[in-house]
Point group: D2
Chain length 135, copies 4
């Protein structure tokens, strides 16, 4: 079992969101942040780096947004603040989607972009499922 | 002149957002993130720490959100992605407001909460001005 | 296979460090950062929060240091900068150890501290193995 | 007065490090992190981006390390943990120096690299002064 899930199960209070959905989002966005950090560096090592500039920028944004969303999701357990958390998840799903789209464009040439696109799509889907579970 | 402003002025491309407004937001949110990190630690040093738990949680969320907003704002210069950036700024303004409200409740007892509330209010206002400038 | 490992395998250049050891460190520190973020919030929900203050501070430090070490480790592939990376790993192993020690003190009372201590010990061990592999 | 200094002055406990030196480090590294984030994006906008790859990588490392050092420095007030904090500051001073050196190479061509180099040198110097004050 992942640490995200174990920690949620050990939470001393009552969790206001569906715990497996929340844990799945935390895991998927953690993976996505790490994949995007690695993909940024992979892109910088490609000989056609000038064609990877948009991909690098989106990966950097995606890392930053997934990292802060994971941290904030880890604290939205008892008192869910939807004025903060809902737009943050919407923003996070949007960057996962934008980053996935750009990585998919390069996936046939660069295996690292194919893997990163997959991590972004999983991050996007998990985030949308969490948004749906909060409605 | 702040580094945020100097770096915007040295940008080699065209900036799609009003540069002084963008720089002011970057500066205010940088200050806010730092004040919230410090206030978290100040709260942990208070003898009535059990009454500061909500304040600590909000300060942690505010630090994380302001830090990622600063990073992403520093990359939204030429190609503004409003599906990502607008909800992120809304989320950031909301946490600055929530954190300011809670810090204001403790401001008469704890000088560090008074200072932190001020930093959060400035962060909120700058973020709302950037949102207005993007419309 | 983890994304950390897949991304290392897809790296377009030559990796200067032992790839499985590097991937294991990235994974263990990613888990550790997430466990510490969750444990901070769990501690804040405990009725004896005033006794958890040291644990909270160490978990916050451990999250910040593991997160930045993961990011920097993801970029230390071709040109290893030991003046930066060696002391960073030493600092990271030290905070993982300090945080584990404190969490172990609370492990018999709080399951979340037991799980977090385990994540910190794995983070510490992986970091020390990476340091050994770099010698 | 900066928020870093105001928050240190409002600290409810006893500060174990020289407060003005600590505040100066927090401020200089906060500036440095922001300058490096901006310089990364500036480099990506240059037509000779393939020549800026080393600069981009160092700026990314410098941002991550300065950000976590600021956070951890904000919590090292009463109980200084030198096994963690000393190597972290050494690592941070080293990346500020490496990043400054690389930015200085591009300073005659790119004003943003000149400004970033200045921010890195100030970050390095402040960090070394804090290390000296801790001895």
């Amino acid at each position: 079992m992942s640490y995200a899930r174990q920690m949620l199960d050990a939470y001393p209070g009552t969790i206001s969101i569906d715990a497996p959905v929340l844990a799945a989002t935390i895991e998927a966005l953690t993976d996505c942040a790490q994949a995007c950090t690695a993909d940024t560096d992979d892109d910088l090592s490609e000989s056609n780096v000038s064609e990877m500039v948009t991909c690098i920028r989106l990966c950097l944004d995606c890392t930053d947004l997934c990292t802060s969303t994971v941290a904030i999701a880890s604290r939205q357990r008892e008192e869910l603040d939807i004025t903060v958390f809902t737009p943050l998840l919407e923003s996070c799903a949007a960057i996962c989607n934008s980053c996935a789209q750009e990585c998919e464009r390069h996936a046939h040439m660069h295996e690292h972009c194919r893997v990163c696109a997959e991590a972004c799509r999983r991050g996007e889907q998990a985030t949308r499922e969490l948004l749906a579970a909060m409605r």
